[in-house]
């Protein structure tokens, strides 16, 4: 019998790995297990609602389930609903592709104040992740700390007019929240100089399309490094863009040291600049977009710490890691693809040489998974979301787990 492989997590790293494995070895028994009733990880819940083209990779991932024989085991959390040990017992190889979903903390005084939010919390709420906390009021003056693409995504969404969200899949709740936000000023602050900012120049250029803003860039500086020079050129090109009512200001080289406020609510953020001087910005909300971390359901630190070959993604015999879970919260969708292709070759070589006496049972070891959400269940959710899309939206996400599950299991209740 063929070998059984379980991939924990159906985000891009899990899906690209499955793709590479099944392309080379079509008869593998392969399952993608996800804690959510819906697949595709951050392609669904991280990639911005107004970047639908980037979500086009989903068409490739659908093939896994529709043509290549992969199984989707949704609504099953590894480490909670099934133990990692039991999974390893049942499968010839187990791959952790569970991403990193906790927000990194800044670690400065005042972070506990109301009005201080982390990017993952906000993006999950904006994109209607079923476990999201509600969207908070941000007030009129928002400061975003961070210089990666996630910070720019948030900036852009907060700055857009309702018309500029046409064609997206931003839901009615978040759309109404944005339309009523009353934000007048957004300042985006980087710790490093502009030349070292991590965002892509093309993300900056996109801001020049915004109609309701007036953009100012303070001290972009200069750089000899070609990448840095490109970033600076993009920033200089948008400096002075627009005369809308929402003011956007880019600032660089400021290290946050303290948040202060009255009545438990943030009102001011203090920084030191390159020459050691303290400056402060008033704010009604302070958003950190500085990276992501492990949330502790799987023993990531211990597993990576004792990994047989961490670079290659080999944790222990029959146990592997890929994507953000292995590399940390860096890298875009294509990086996960490259990572997955290398790991797939390694896993197939190990399965080839491994002297397992008998093939393992795979999903047959878990009769309780009859109650998990399969691919057909997800397709019912997907179809309902697309069918209910209002004008100017390409889908409307179902935002509660209960409603997702009700739809996923609908067919059994009312056969057509």
């Amino acid at each position: 019998m063929s070998r059984a492989v379980a991939i924990v997590g159906s985000g891009p790293s899990g899906c690209y790995l499955a793709q590479a494995l099944l392309k080379a070895t079509p008869d593998l028994r392969l399952d993608l297990v996800d804690r959510l009733p819906v697949p595709y990880g951050l392609v669904r819940y991280g990639v911005a609602a107004d970047h639908q083209g980037t979500k086009g990779v989903i068409r490739q991932f659908e093939r896994l389930f529709e043509r290549q024989g992969a199984g989707f085991v949704g609504n099953v959390a590894v480490g909670e609903d099934v133990s990692l040990d039991d999974l390893r017992e049942a499968y010839d190889a187990v791959v952790l592709a569970a991403g990193l979903s906790a927000d990194q903390a800044l670690g400065i005084p005042g972070e506990e104040l109301e009005g201080v939010y982390r990017a993952g919390r906000l993006t999950r709420a904006l994109y209607e992740h079923p476990d999201a906390e509600p969207l908070p009021g941000l007030g009129r003056r928002v400061v975003i700390m961070g210089n990666g693409n996630v910070a720019i995504d948030l900036l852009r969404l907060l700055a857009k007019t309702p018309d500029e969200l046409a064609g997206s899949d931003l839901g009615p709740g978040p759309s109404a929240w944005l339309a009523a936000s009353g934000i007048e000023e957004i300042e985006i602050v980087g710790r490093s100089p502009a030349a070292a900012a991590k965002f892509d120049a093309v993300m900056i250029r996109e801001l020049a399309k915004l109609a309701g803003v007036a953009i100012r860039v303070v001290d972009a500086g200069a750089s000899d490094d070609p990448e840095g020079a490109k970033t600076i050129a993009a920033l200089e090109a948008i400096d002075g863009h627009g005369s809308g009512s929402r003011r956007i200001t880019f600032r660089f080289g400021l290290t946050p040291v303290e948040l202060a406020g009255a009545d438990g609510r943030v009102g001011e953020i203090r920084f030191v600049d390159g020459s050691g001087d303290v400056t402060s910005l008033p704010c009604s909300a302070f958003i950190t977009a500085i990276g992501f971390d492990d949330e502790g359901v799987l023993p990531r630190d211990a597993l990576l710490g004792s990994a047989a070959d961490r670079e290659a993604g080999v944790l222990a015999p029959g146990l592997y890691a890929t994507g953000w879970f292995r590399r940390g919260p860096q890298g875009t969708i294509p990086d996960n693809r490259a990572d997955a292709q290398l790991l797939a070759a390694r896993i197939l070589a190990d399965l080839e040489t491994g002297a397992a006496p008998a093939a393992k049972p795979g999903r047959d070891a878990f009769p309780e998974w009859a109650g998990a959400v399969g691919y057909q269940g997800w397709k019912r959710i997907d179809a309902a979301e697309i069918a209910a899309a209002p004008e100017n939206r390409c889908r409307v996400k179902i935002n509660s787990r209960d409603a997702m599950l009700a739809l996923a299991f609908q067919e059994e209740e009312c056969p057509r």
Binding site: V57, D200, R337
Partner: protein, 155 residues
Amino acid sequence: MNIMLLYGTETGNAEMLAEDIMAELEGEHAVECRNLSDFAPDEFDAGRLHMIVCSTYGDGELPASAQPFAAALKAASPSLSGVHFAIFGLGDSEYEETFNFGSKGLAELLAAHGAKQVGERLTHDASGSDMAEDLAFPWAAQTVALAEEAIGENA
């Protein structure tokens, strides 16, 4: 027709489309499908149609898998006279100013070395409503017909 189907990709969309085109053409034609990263400029063959599917990345640049090929072509700068190619682009109109610059740049590069383009360069827009294959299949059929005239039926 003898067809070399080449793809340049970053996130795999062009690879999937190339495989779909291959499945579509295979019944009637001899088709070999390869990543541009595994294709060298000295492998061009005047007796074949080179059908290319290529996306765009970064800021209007070629996708990762096409870059080594483009660099090798520029470095060796061979004459490609007598070589026929057709090209289909994948892009996203969100990137307005550089929409499908990858396939455009690659077509220009091949033409600059003397290769002859067969048919129109067609483009897909990831933000549009068309499926890539719905545009690509008729395009492929048409370019093959044109190439049969240009190269000869039995090539």
